[in-house]
Symmetry: C2
DNA sequence: CTGAAAGCGCTAACAC
DNA sequence: GTGTTAGCGCTTTCAG
């Protein structure tokens, strides 16, 4: 009843062949006669033989597996990127092992260990937002397991066989603001998160530079710093509307805050975009479900996953004695103009 | 430079000890002297030794890994369930291997093979919606690898060590409709997907029974069958509004269709819920972002994941000679009443 | 075309 | 406390 799984040895005994012949037959080597192959396959099928990857990988010294570590497996962004990773990895013949850190350095460290213990051939990581110490990546680097950071990348940790893929947040924000100005807006407010996080820093700078380049002086009273969610977005909007000179547009660094602003405006009887235009960032699925539909920036999540895997693949394929220089890929975001900013 | 990973053998040589002692020291066995343990640990640290799980698992005959197969890794529902699975599995000391079938039986089959080859100790599956043939699960069952289906379960495939976790869709729909009737609605329309899919069947039946139980005769012209998304939801609504006797409520079998209906109503200048109430199903994140906020049914995704793992754990822990009878867990959904149906 | 033999890195009897 | 030995299931020289 316990039905031990059939092994190559079992097949060998049953067919009165050696294990090597069985192994070769199953691998479809050309130096095995068709007749034997047929017999082997038939029996394998009959016993529903399943090769033991553990043993094969141990013997070969190759697992054909990539490790992925993300802060969350939920939400919109990361699952999308992971999907890109999984798809591209499958295309290249790799399996993928996925872990989440839950934004916790402790778990991040534990998962990196787990991936290393599992003998993955390369690792793709997006950092927990509390990660300040990178010692757990030392082992990865020192054993020359290629490492690609994506989206949330490290400034302080580089080296051979360590690369990064990120989005050009600056560019994305710049495009949004330039578009708003083109629509005739001049007093453009900006909701931003903490500037020590690279995405917010980039988006904020893009906002400032676009303003200046178009000859507008950004009014510091129109930039609001803080948490960015639906609630705070609404609160920030309310605050701004109380000021004497109110804005004619809002660019929020994420979509949730933009929706909050949108709802507050509607609640106060203001029209969007006629009175005040609103734009977000990330192209969350709900941006097409609110009214008016929200202008935002698409981050090409799949592309990020795909690029990350390709980068890894390059390091894997490269000459092992001549490690790859660190390389950064910066992806171009895409402005999606929708109703919430279309004045003309 | 190539920096081969340190092995137990390396440690043994360096310290002039046997591999068994090293192995025991690292595992913190009590029959190794503290002094030796210290030396071993120190060197292991220095060489940043990483145990090779492959070898250990091969030797032990246990991988401590559960396999998960979902139709998608994106969207809202599945990542949430997978999160529940991963969290509970971690709590129980299991690793998790996640695959997606992309709703394709071919890939489903391939992934099941992959999981079996990887020697997972149990498998959690939500079926691709095109899966009609279950032969690929035969191998799983025949080798007594415990199997838990969740959300999308099979009717035709059962056996020892095969269980299922699902949502009581009937109950959820019943609650929604009972609530609508309580709000004074009598002409309640229903948007449903194809009835051969168990979730739609259950929800439809819940709708019918709730009506009848409350003394209302469901009008067949108010039930619309078809694809359920934002676009079709709007279209179905438009169609219904053209009929002479229009509904005073709509219960859509998913949230996207409900939002479509909502938008159509607003576009035609009707008030929700005053003129027509609207309810959906699934508690998608966007249901609190639309206006009015959408009444819906929460499926307790995490709970589903957690239950599935616990069920698996029970089978794993059970007497291997006395296989566990198939068991089904049916989870209770939770009605979330929001603005879109609050008439009173 | 097939077989014998070695070994991937680790663990677990079994000895002493 | 520590060492010896065997072997998990597979692949891969090397011989024939």
């Amino acid at each position: 009843m316990a039905n031990r799984r059939a092994s190559i040895t079992d097949l060998a005994k049953a067919l009165n062949l050696s294990t090597s012949t069985i192994s070769r037959a199953l691998a479809d080597h050309n130096d095995v006669s068709e007749a034997t192959k047929k017999r082997v396959r038939a029996l394998a099928e009959e016993l529903s033989y399943q090769p033991n990857q553990l043993a094969a990988a141990l013997r070969r010294g190759r697992t054909n597996t990539l490790g992925v570590l993300v802060p969350h497996i939920t939400g919109h962004f990361f699952p999308q990127v992971v999907n890109g990773i999984a798809t591209e990895a499958a295309r290249l013949g790799f399996n993928v092992m996925i872990c989440q850190s839950n934004e916790d350095v402790k778990q991040e460290r534990k998962n990196i260990d787990l991936l290393m213990n599992s003998q993955v051939e390369g690792i793709l990581v997006s950092l927990a937002n509390t990660t300040k110490d990178f010692s757990h990546f030392e082992a990865v680097r020192s054993q020359n397991v290629p490492l690609v950071f994506f989206d949330r990348v490290v400034e302080g940790f580089r080296g051979d066989n360590v690369s990064a893929v990120m989005l050009d947040d600056y560019q994305g924000a710049y495009q949004v603001v330039a578009h708003l100005i083109e629509q005739g807006c001049t007093r453009i407010a900006h909701f931003t998160g903490p500037l020590h996080i690279n995405i917010h820093k980039g988006r904020h700078q893009g906002y400032l530079d676009a303003m200046k380049d178009k000859g507008l002086q950004p009014d510091p009273r129109l930039t609001v710093f803080g948490e960015l969610n639906q609630k705070t977005g609404a609160a920030y909007m309310r605050k701004l509307l109380k000021q004497p000179e109110r804005p004619d547009a809002v660019f929020a660094s994420n979509d949730l805050a933009a929706v909050g602003a949108l709802q507050e405006l509607k609640a106060q009887g203001l029209r969007v975009p006629e009175d005040i235009a609103v734009a977000g960032f990330s192209n969350e699925p709900f941006t097409t479900l609110v009214e008016p539909q929200l202008t935002t920036v698409d981050q090409g999540c799949d592309t990020m996953g795909i690029s990350a895997v390709r980068l890894l693949q390059k390091m894997l394929a490269g000459n092992p004695d001549r490690l790859m220089q660190p390389r950064n890929v910066v992806l171009k975001p895409k402005l999606l103009v929708r109703e919430s900013t279309m004045k003309k």
